[in-house]
């Protein structure tokens, strides 16, 4: 029971962190990052190979690069760094010239191809079998299977959540966040005001990549395994569903969506009786995710907790007053 609850806690935390990052990219800035899960995976793989001992140990049953066996905070920091660094070339290719749906398909294709390459290139990150026996952080000093350790891990996860939430809120409320929203609504107008949309998008894309990398590190440190089958491209769509349901552009919405869709939805359906041929229930889950996205975009595109419109105390009445007094306007 402890193990179940703590696992649920860590998954919830990781989903919340991921949804916050995706909300910054997709909700606030309008970047359709269909390869989000790749950045999470990059962080997880980085943290794993930096924490694992050289691959000749353990009887050499898995093959991977590095195997640096570095102490705790370094793999997590490196994971965040790698998530950010990987975002730079991807962003430079995708975010500069392309229309928004081209950006989306480019990222989708990247997500499929990255998974394909990692699956087939066995010596790099152990191919389709993936990495296992990843050491938990500080497992050399504490018993990683004791309830105290598990709960402490959950606590650390939520501290990271709070940190990411704080940073996200600061970004959304800053003048920079306002510019991002303006760019999402009308890119040409923002360009005309002297802002460079490519720089704006690149910055938030890298920030999102850093957070995604961190979320991967947190997850892999707890579940101790990581394989290509855990980061197939549909996983990104679950996070999109969460952000859309929660409310695009609103960090509270991302929080709510993360709790509702990946955590609530997956957990609720876990206890459904398995009926029909094997694989029917998971397949229906995916259908339900699709219906959830389509239903919300049709009936409530702003989500459960809509983004609050910006208020400017002085400016709004002045504009309104002038419009009503204008003689020509009827």
């Amino acid at each position: 029971m402890t193990y179940y609850l703590t696992t649920l806690g860590v998954y919830a935390g990781v989903d919340i962190i991921a949804c916050l990052a995706l909300n910054l990219q997709f909700g606030v800035s309008g970047i359709v990052n269909f390869s989000f899960i790749v950045f999470q995976a990059a962080g997880a793989y980085t943290a794993a190979v930096l924490a694992l001992p050289p691959d000749s140990q353990n009887g050499g049953f898995q093959h991977y690069v590095f195997g640096a066996q570095l102490p705790f905070p370094i793999p997590w920091i490196a994971a965040a760094v790698v998530g950010g660094v990987l975002s730079v070339p991807v962003g430079l290719v995708v975010l500069r010239h392309l229309r928004v749906d081209y950006q989306a398909i480019a990222m989708l294709v990247l997500s499929v191809i990255a998974n394909l390459v990692i699956t087939n290139a066995r010596p790099f990150l152990n191919g389709a079998a993936g990495l296992s026996l990843v050491p938990q952080p500080l497992s050399d000093r504490f018993n990683a299977y004791s309830p105290t350790y598990l709960w402490a891990y959950v606590a650390v996860t939520f501290v990271c959540c709070a940190l990411v939430f704080f940073v996200s809120q600061r970004i959304v409320k800053s003048p920079y966040g306002r510019t991002l929203r303006a760019m999402r609504e009308h890119e040409l107008a923002v360009t005309a005001l002297g802002k460079n949309p490519v720089v704006l998008k690149m910055t938030i894309f890298v920030v999102g990549g850093v957070i995604a990398g961190l979320s991967g590190a947190i997850l892999v440190g707890f579940i101790t395994i990581w394989a290509p089958s855990t980061w197939l491209y549909p996983e990104t769509l679950i996070l999109f569903a969460a952000v859309i349901v929660g409310g695009r552009g609103n960090n509270w919405g991302a929080l709510f969506g993360a709790a509702l869709v990946p955590v609530g939805f997956e957990e609720a359906t876990r206890y459904l009786p398995q009926f029909g041929p094997p694989g029917l229930v998971p397949a229906l889950q995916w259908v339900a995710i699709g219906l959830l996205i389509i239903g919300f975009l049709w009936f409530r595109p702003k989500g459960v907790l809509p983004e609050k419109p910006g208020r400017f105390a002085a400016a709004t009445p002045v504009v309104g007053a002038r419009l009503t007094k204008e003689p020509g306007v009827s």
């Binding site: 309008g30 359709v32 269909f34 290719v93 995708v94 010239h97 392309l98 229309r99 928004v100 749906d101 081209y102 989306a104 398909i105 480019a106 989708l108 294709v109 990247l110 499929v112 191809i113 394909l116 390459v117 087939n120 890119e187 040409l188 949309p197 491209y233 549909p234 769509l237 999109f240 859309i244 029909g276 041929p277 694989g279 029917l280 397949a283 229906l284 995916w286 259908v287 995710i289 699709g290 219906l291 996205i293 389509i294 975009l297 049709w298 595109p301």
Partner: protein, 294 residues
């Protein structure tokens, strides 16, 4: 060298399959101004529809017609029930692309419980093998190439010689202006989805005939090559898609011979990245069709 010649021969077959698929995909983009990410899954669904007929003892070429009808009707329905209402509502491109990805996942997961996870293959007589130097192709493969050439000529005649084709090109270029000129755009768009859906169904079935086996999971791989071919040629342009299909088809087969067949799609991906960096509007498109604000 003979290895590469043989790969060139297989490349011609891949090109044929890809050309049928990519022309349908790119015409959907042209006429509805949206990327239909469910295309690969509709292809697979149509391939399974043909498989159902084929498995019941019907000849594969007759089953192919069944696949075409299935692809046609289901593409029409997806557009009429899902895409067109959202577009009428004014959903932005960003929303449309998410909707089409959601549709793609839903089709795949409705299909999975029905047909299962395992790979299947058609009952077909591949016919005698024809040799030309190191190129060796089966009768079926040659027939697929012939079919592709015929279909390309049909599409060309449709677009350039008929009133419907003219109306489609007009709707694709400027829907508002076309409507104001008295073209019934809604009906033109519906017809376009029926035609492109038929291409999609044929493409799915011939893809299954060309490769030994296929499964629901093949959809994503199809989609990548199709996207690469369509974007390379200039999205929305059927002739561009044909050239794109030729380049992508040959490059994937030759790279499979040179490196490893597992990385087939990686070559398509590499070309896609190069195109997006160097010439995002594609080979045949006019400059500026892909401006960020458009």
């Amino acid at each position: 060298m003979s290895l590469y010649l043989a790969a060139f021969g297989f490349g011609l077959v891949s090109t044929s399959v890809l050309a049928i698929a990519a022309v349908g995909f790119t015409m959907q983009f042209g006429i509805s101004n949206m990327i239909n990410l469910a295309y690969g899954e509709v292809m697979i669904a149509a391939a399974y529809a043909s498989y159902g007929l084929n498995n019941a003892g019907i000849n594969i070429w007759v089953s192919l017609l069944g696949g075409a009808v299935f692809g046609s009707v289901s593409s029409y329905l997806i557009n009429r029930v899902l895409y067109a209402p959202f577009q009428k509502k004014g959903t932005a491109l960003i929303g449309m692309v998410i909707i089409s990805l959601a549709a793609s996942l839903m089709i795949a997961n409705v299909l999975l419980p029905i047909v299962g996870y395992y790979s299947v293959s058609y009952r077909q007589n591949v016919g005698p093998t024809f040799h030309a130097g190191s190129i060796a192709l089966t009768g079926v493969q040659l027939a697929i190439m012939g079919l592709a050439i015929v279909l390309m000529l049909v599409i060309h005649s449709l677009l350039k010689l008929t009133r419907l084709g003219k109306a489609m090109r007009a709707t694709s270029a400027n829907p508002t202006l076309a409507r104001n000129c008295g073209i019934p755009t809604r009906r033109v768009i519906d017809t376009a989805w029926l035609i492109t859906g038929a291409l999609c169904g044929v493409a799915g079935t011939v893809a299954g005939m060309n490769s030994d086996t296929f499964a629901v999971a093949s959809g994503a791989g199809f989609l990548i090559s199709i996207i690469a071919a369509a974007v390379l040629g200039g999205a929305g342009n059927p002739y561009g898609a044909m050239i794109g299909a030729l380049l992508i088809g040959e490059v994937t087969e030759i790279s499979a011979a040179a490196f490893s067949p597992e990385y087939k799609e990686v070559a398509a991906f590499a070309i896609l990245v190069l195109v997006m960096v160097l010439r995002p509007q594609g080979l045949l498109a006019k400059r500026g069709t892909l401006a960020a604000a458009g």
